[in-house]
Every structure is written in structure tokens, then in C-alpha cells.
Symmetry: C2
């Protein structure tokens, strides 16, 4: 098994992993079952990986963290923005 | 700014990022707003990072990916297990 290919596929998958959640949340406008801590910790974490990449001048590390940084920042913002949509309201169809 | 410390904090944060979601899902048993693709892609992705760490004999890379591998595998299993809890049912309190 070629380690470089394993690393490249690993980097690709972890880079795009939060995009499906971003699309689902954008479409549904519901965030009831999402913990805000996952996108928040990932935003700070991958942001620091990006800073680390800049400090050690590692282009792949910088590139691999741009997509997850943007998508996790957007997910954090959506969790804050849409939590009002999920406030418990009495069912209006009961007469 | 010391790059090593930036990298260590980045690695710590991205390692533990999925734990709050795991705890929330375990407690609520609800997975309506979770996309199965995020934990699934992260499971395969961090699993491959772990394989890459073994192939290039990099202990920090191996250690950093054990926690997210386990928590994302558990989240994927919970998404499958609990989706029945979230099937739409008519409200039983309507007479």
C-alpha cells in the first residue's frame, strides 16, 4: 500500500466530510439534534491547523484545512441562527 | 508563536471535536438533523489517517486519530440505530 495515496485519500475525505451536514442543515433549517460544540471545536481546530501550515510553510496542510474551516464556521453560524426555528411550540391543529 | 504548540492544540481540538455530539446523541436518542455522511466520511477518513500513521510509523498521527475514529464510528451506528425514533407519527394527544 502506497502511504502517499493513503494520506491523500484520507486528507480528501476529512476535508469534505462536513459538506453533507452543511447542505442538509441549509435545506432543512433545523438544528435540534446538532451539538454546537462539534462545528465550533472543529472551526478553531482546523483554523489552528491552517495557522500551523502557514507557520511551517506546508502548502498541503493549508489547502486541506480551508474547506473544513469554512464549512464548520457556516455550520456554527447556522446552529445559532436556526435554533429559534426549533423552539417548542404548542401544536396549532388542536382545537 | 511556537508552531509545535499551535499544532498540538490543533490536534487536541480536532481529536475531541466529535465527543460533544456523541454525548448529545447518546442522551437524546434523536438523529433527525444529523447527516449520516459526516460521521461516515470522518470514520473512513480518520481511519485512513491512522493507517497512514502506521505505514509511516508516526506515533502522534496514530494517537490523534484513535478518539475521532471511535466516536465517529459510534455516531454512524447511532444514526442508523435511532432513525426509527424519529419516524413521523401522528400526535397521540389529539382526541
Amino acid at each position: 500500500m502506497n502511504p502517499t495515496w493513503v494520506g491523500l485519500v484520507a486528507g480528501l475525505l476529512t476535508s469534505i466530510a462536513s459538506l453533507p451536514q452543511l447542505i442538509k442543515t441549509w435545506r432543512s433549517r433545523h438544528v435540534r439534534d446538532l451539538s454546537i460544540w462539534q462545528p465550533l471545536l472543529l472551526s478553531v481546530g482546523v483554523g489552528l491547523w491552517l495557522v500551523y501550515g502557514v507557520l511551517i510553510r506546508d502548502i498541503p496542510l493549508i489547502l486541506a484545512n480551508i474547506t473544513p474551516l469554512i464549512s464548520n464556521l457556516l455550520l456554527t453560524a447556522m446552529k445559532i441562527r436556526y435554533c429559534d426555528n426549533d423552539a417548542e411550540t404548542p401544536p396549532s391543529i388542536i382545537i
